[in-house]
């Protein structure tokens, strides 16, 4: 389930500046947003064989948006999480060249967190209509009881 943290550290030391730690989530690699895709590629081709991007999500941390990549190796049955953070309205570098499964979740994340998607073959809006504000940001409120009633 958990890959060896020291082995991950030694692997990544040759790729980019990144910190690996063991948290309640599992082994988490913190990377800068510019290095994230290179780290994903390195993890995929390493002996860990993280061949699958299981999930990709954004989290609004208030001052910035954190992107979490969730990788899995079927051969060793291990998970690893790569996190990078972007400023609001920043540019999300597409990982779809490394993992095809990032295609749709990236579009969704970029749209719902108001990010710009770069390097994606089809960086259109996915879920909402034109002009809709990024709905998953914490600064965008949900309807109040009064708004629902008066509509």
């Amino acid at each position: 389930m958990l890959p060896d943290v020291t082995a991950v550290r030694s692997l990544l030391s040759g790729v980019a500046e990144a910190e690996a730690e063991c948290t309640s989530l599992g082994v988490v690699v913190h990377a800068s947003s510019g290095d994230a895709v290179a780290i994903l590629a390195a993890l995929k081709s390493s002996e860990f064989d993280f061949a699958v991007l299981i999930d990709l999500l954004g989290t609004d941390l208030g001052d910035r948006v954190e992107i979490t990549y969730h990788l899995r190796s079927f051969t060793r049955d291990e998970d690893i999480f790569v996190k990078s953070s972007l400023p609001h309205g920043g540019t999300l570098q597409s990982a779809s060249g490394v993992f095809a499964s990032a295609l749709l979740p990236e579009r969704e994340t970029a749209e719902l967190f108001g990010l710009v998607l770069a390097g994606h073959p089809n960086p259109k809006r996915l879920l909402t209509t034109e002009g809709q504000e990024p709905l998953l940001l914490r600064s965008v409120p949900i309807r109040t009881v009064k708004e629902v009633r008066d509509g």
Partner: protein, 375 residues
């Protein structure tokens, strides 16, 4: 991709044409719009346009208490509510460190498998319709009604059960429900054989499904497919066996895998999964332990600051909940990993090169639920 397509279009002068299937179309199993570009009978490219059912399950989850998350998850993957509830409950339990009574574990497995058969039956009925068979829909609905009766007897609802909660399950199995399950199990295997003779044994259907919509092992993995779609491509990964939750570590079941990853394999894997699910139900009903079904919990759960990911094997694949807690009564981030979303990406890759007539069949063969695609 398919040599059949090339033979057909060889003799005719054709032009390119784009047309839309959906957003409201019987063969898209809900609200999915496929912009399909064709050259004669052959599909050149396909693009899925989503968002017709985007209703903010993730956003609303950030404004709900931890106890209320199963209510939202029910309506995500509405064909298999129990699995959605279970994933969110597991995530909350993991964050808060809740000990679940053993009987609740068994009931979760039991209801989960009953729900899996019900969900596969709905897929099976509509899949036949996609193939042009109408009458067998009524036979699959006969079995589905029996299953919905069981689910109703246990949970009180036919769908959107709200049965699995953080800390256990909400109600024990009643005598009536147990006898209903036993009655169902007596006939189910024979019914499944009957279904197989109807649809799977039909030579025309086999000819239509063999070699169509092939996803090989590597592209299945790179597309992030899980569940029956992945296993049909020959990857023996099942969350129930590889990361056991509920009572699955104590249960025996087989994991069917395919060889070629075509539509026929996906069909056969799902049929066999139903048989295995019935086997699990049988074991659960025999081995059900005694005891409480719900742990004692305070009214408001306040997990410590932290982050967790919990996943279950839903009928459509790995259904995960990624939960970020900030110490308050509501989650900071509630993310729903929907297996159908990845199946849509696979569909976009699978459709080019096939015949237009097979498009509806292929949409059916990956088994998507728009409710969880768009959340």
């Amino acid at each position: 991709m398919s040599p059949r397509a090339a033979e057909h279009v060889e003799h005719t002068a054709t032009g390119r044409m784009v047309f839309d299937v959906g957003s409201q179309h019987p063969s898209t199993h809900g609200l999915l719009r496929l912009a399909i570009e064709t050259d004669g009978e052959e599909i050149v490219s396909a693009e899925a346009c989503l968002g017709f059912l985007h209703r903010g399950i993730e956003k609303l989850g950030e404004h709900r208490r931890y106890h209320q998350l199963p209510t939202l998850m029910d309506r995500g993957d509405y064909l298999s509510g129990i699995h959605g509830e279970l994933a969110s409950a597991l995530a909350v339990e993991r964050l808060r460190g809740i000990e679940v009574p053993p009987k609740a574990h068994w009931l979760r497995s039991l209801l989960g498998e009953i729900n899996r058969i019900a969900s596969h039956m709905a897929w099976y009925g509509t899949f036949g319709r996609d193939a042009g068979v109408t009458s067998h829909f009524f036979y699959s609905m006969r079995d589905r009604e029996a299953l919905l009766d069981i689910l109703e007897a246990v949970t009180g609802q036919r769908m959107t059960f709200n049965y699995v909660r953080p800390g256990g399950v909400i109600a024990d199995l009643t005598v009536v429900a147990e006898s209903k399950i036993r009655r169902f199990l007596r006939t189910f295997d024979a019914h499944l054989d009957e279904h197989q003779t109807f649809l799977g044994g039909n030579e025309l259907l086999q000819k239509r499904l063999r070699g169509v919509g092939v996803i090989d092992r590597d592209s299945a993995m790179s597309l992030g497919l899980t569940g029956a779609n992945l296993r049909a491509s020959g990857v023996p990964y099942d969350v129930r066996r590889d990361r056991p939750y509920a009572a699955y570590s104590e249960l025996e079941f087989g994991i069917p895998i395919g060889t070629t990853g075509d539509a026929m394999d996906r069909y056969l894997v799902r049929i066999e999964e139903m048989r295995q699910a019935a086997r699990i139900v049988r074991q659960c009903i025999e081995g059900l332990p005694e005891g409480a079904v719900m742990a004692k919990l305070p009214k408001a759960l306040r997990p410590r600051e932290g982050e967790t990911y919990a996943c279950v094997e839903s009928p459509r694949g790995e259904l995960g909940v990624h939960l970020v807690a900030d110490g308050s009564e509501t989650p900071r981030r509630f993310h729903y990993r929907a297996p159908s979303l990845f199946a849509i990406a696979a569909l976009e890759q699978m459709l080019p090169g096939t015949l237009l007539a097979d498009a509806a069949l292929l949409v059916g063969s990956v088994d998507i639920v728009p409710g969880e695609v768009e959340r």
